[in-house]
């Protein structure tokens, strides 16, 4: 009887070949991909180059655009820190794209809502949006900064404060049990009241955020007229056109148009290409 090669024998040899191939290719692929540190260094070099060329706006903006693209790639890779968001925003703004700068700031605030530098930067960027001095558009379109507990205190800070208050309350209660003095009981009650107040504020803030941020945030990337329908033939909902950098909430999309809601509550339609979604990390191409 002759020994025929079995199917399991062939399968094993194929599997070994695949393992060897992967072992050879994987280090090469890893070596080709730039590490985050290298990408950050490249971004910082481009930014520094742009700063040196600031006397020539055209060349400087090209350098800042390269830096913005590198920062966007880092963000897309998962490096989500307030510092990176700030750098990303500044690079976009110096490259001439205020809408993308605003979107980058919102991306950073989604990670660290309490970050004071990001809040200040967003206020400054919003001040550059060219709203008319007065009128319905200004009343409807201007965004205001959220002044809630989560905008002033980080989750870690709240955890520390709550822990301290809870510890003081428990300590006060223990001291009252030991000495039967009313002052310690009062101290424990005050701490518990503070704890309760903080909890109520956080719960209310979470409810408001859930309601306000349930709709995706968009930033207008070019001056666009808010229309009553999803076509250019429809009349304007508000005049003049929404300036680039304005922030709106997306309601729905249809036929290349986006139905949006302004901060003031007005609803209308904008062309799809005229808005940039927050959280988008498409590479920025300098115009």
């Amino acid at each position: 009887m002759s020994h025929l090669p079995t199917s399991t024998g062939r399968g094993k040899s194929t599997l070994w070949c695949l393992v060897v191939l992967l072992t050879l290719l994987l280090p090469a692929s890893i070596a080709l991909a730039a590490s985050p540190e290298e990408a950050l260094a490249a971004a910082e070099r481009s930014f520094a180059e742009g700063a040196e060329l600031r006397a020539d706006a055209e060349r400087a903006q090209a350098a800042f655009a390269r830096a913005a693209t590198a920062y966007d790639e880092l963000w897309a890779q998962g490096c989500r820190t307030p510092e990176l968001a700030l750098n990303r925003s500044r690079a976009h703004r110096l490259a001439g794209s205020l809408p993308r700068a605003v979107a980058a700031l919102h991306d950073g605030l989604a990670v660290a809502r309490f970050s004071r530098p990001l809040q200040v930067e967003l206020d400054d960027a919003r001040s550059r949006v060219l709203y008319p001095l007065e009128g319905e558009l200004t009343a409807q379109g201007k965004s205001v900064r959220a002044r809630t507990v989560s905008a002033r205190m980080s989750a870690a800070d709240a955890w520390l404060v709550c822990g301290l208050l809870w510890l003081l309350a428990c300590g006060g209660a223990a001291r009252f049990v030991a000495t039967r003095r009313a002052v310690w009981l009062g101290c424990a009650i005050v701490c518990l009241c503070g704890l309760g107040a903080l909890g109520v504020l956080w719960a209310r803030d979470a409810r408001e955020r859930e309601r306000a941020e349930s709709l995706p945030l968009l930033v207008v990337s070019e001056d666009a007229l808010l229309r009553k329908g999803n076509a250019a033939e429809y009349p304007a909902r508000i005049e003049p056109a929404l300036p680039k950098g304005a922030e709106v909430r997306e309601l729905t999309r249809r036929g290349g148009w986006v139905q949006v809601q302004l901060p003031g509550g007005a609803i209308g339609w904008l062309p799809g290409p005229a808005v940039v979604p927050c959280g988008s990390v498409e590479p920025y191409r300098a115009q």
Partner: protein
């Protein structure tokens, strides 16, 4: 009547001569066999000359110059076809644009064909010579009826000078932006892990730590301060608590010994069935003894009241010890409970 063959032949010949119209030898159709396939533009004449007239002679790359092809000596000025320079490979170095020509009449001595030529590079040195075949009706039939001439036979060569286009000066303007935008964050925190967000485990640990820490502190405190424990038991007694507080406040009263004595007496009346008539130290001792209070406690109580009386009426500087002794007495009596 029968016609003879020769008669019929003569009649046919005569008919041919009469019917075929006479033709001008000058307009006689050229034999197509010798007609050139290229560079022949239907010009006719005995001696035709062609030349270029170029204006201007100096031009920038991709800028137009006007080249006029002047044909002289043609006898059919209105029939000459304008050469299409775009089809001539020699003119690939130019971008050729046809320009409307001036109107021609049969009496014109020369024909002008106007072009706009834009040199594509600086290596262009002249307008290329143009081969120009024409028909000479006086020449014997054959190839010699189509002589040629060229534009470069003229002494005045259409040389041109092509310059590079000057570099367009870009208007440089500075980048207008607030100064703070040019500063970026650097350091390891840029690529850090982001802000710390405590999870459910951290919150649970914090919630459990409070009572645990308080309980641990309480146990340690009891171990370190045992007398205080007894005092704490004393304080559970309301009367004892009030007496102790009154004793401690005695220093702030005008008559501290009287306040101490009053506090202790109030405690004794609240804890033991002391009659209202028992006000002197001896009466108090007797009342306490009847309440089965140990003798040493009774004596201490009597001694305290006597000391208070002495301090009230004959101060001797021992008032500070009265409060401590009163507290100790209250603690001792409370321990009996």
């Amino acid at each position: 009547m029968i016609f003879r063959a020769d008669t019929l032949r003569r009649a046919a010949l005569l008919a041919l001569v009469l019917l075929v119209p006479a033709r001008d030898p000058l307009t006689a159709k050229q034999p197509a066999f010798f007609e050139p396939q290229e560079h022949y533009y239907k010009a006719k004449g005995k001696g035709i000359g062609v030349r270029w007239v170029v204006e201007p002679r100096e031009v920038q790359v991709n800028r137009d110059l006007t080249a006029t092809l002047v044909v002289t000596g043609a006898t059919n000025p209105t029939e000459i076809v304008k050469p299409d320079l775009r089809k001539l490979p020699a003119f690939d170095a130019f971008k050729v644009t046809n320009v409307p020509d001036p109107p021609r009449t049969a009496a014109d001595k020369e024909v002008r064909f106007v072009y706009k030529l834009a040199p594509r590079g600086t290596d262009v040195k002249e307008v290329p010579p143009l081969e120009f075949f024409y028909f000479n009706p006086d020449a014997p039939p054959g190839k010699k009826q189509f002589p040629s001439t060229r534009t470069d036979r003229d002494e005045d060569s259409p040389a041109i000078t092509v310059r590079e286009a000057p570099a367009v000066e870009r208007r440089v303007r500075p980048l207008d932006a607030p100064e703070h935008l040019f500063q970026i964050e650097t350091g390891p925190e840029v690529l850090g892990r982001g802000p710390f967000v405590p999870g459910a485990g951290a919150w649970l640990a914090t919630a459990a730590a409070g009572p645990l820490v308080a309980a641990g502190w309480f146990l340690v405190w009891c171990r370190l301060y045992p007398n205080a424990t007894r005092l704490a038991r004393i304080h559970r007694s309301r009367a004892a608590r009030r007496a102790t507080e009154a004793i401690r406040r005695a220093n702030r009263t005008p008559d501290p010994p009287a306040a101490v004595a009053g506090a202790v007496l109030g405690y004794l009346r609240a804890r033991f069935p002391l009659p209202e008539s028992a006000v002197t130290p001896s009466e108090i001792e007797i009342a306490l003894a009847r309440s089965d209070v140990p003798a040493e406690a009774t004596e201490r109580a009597g001694a305290l009241f006597r000391a208070c009386d002495r301090a009230r009426f004959a101060p001797s500087g021992e008032e500070a010890a009265l409060a401590a002794a009163a507290e100790a007495l209250v603690a001792r009596l409370e321990a009996l409970a």
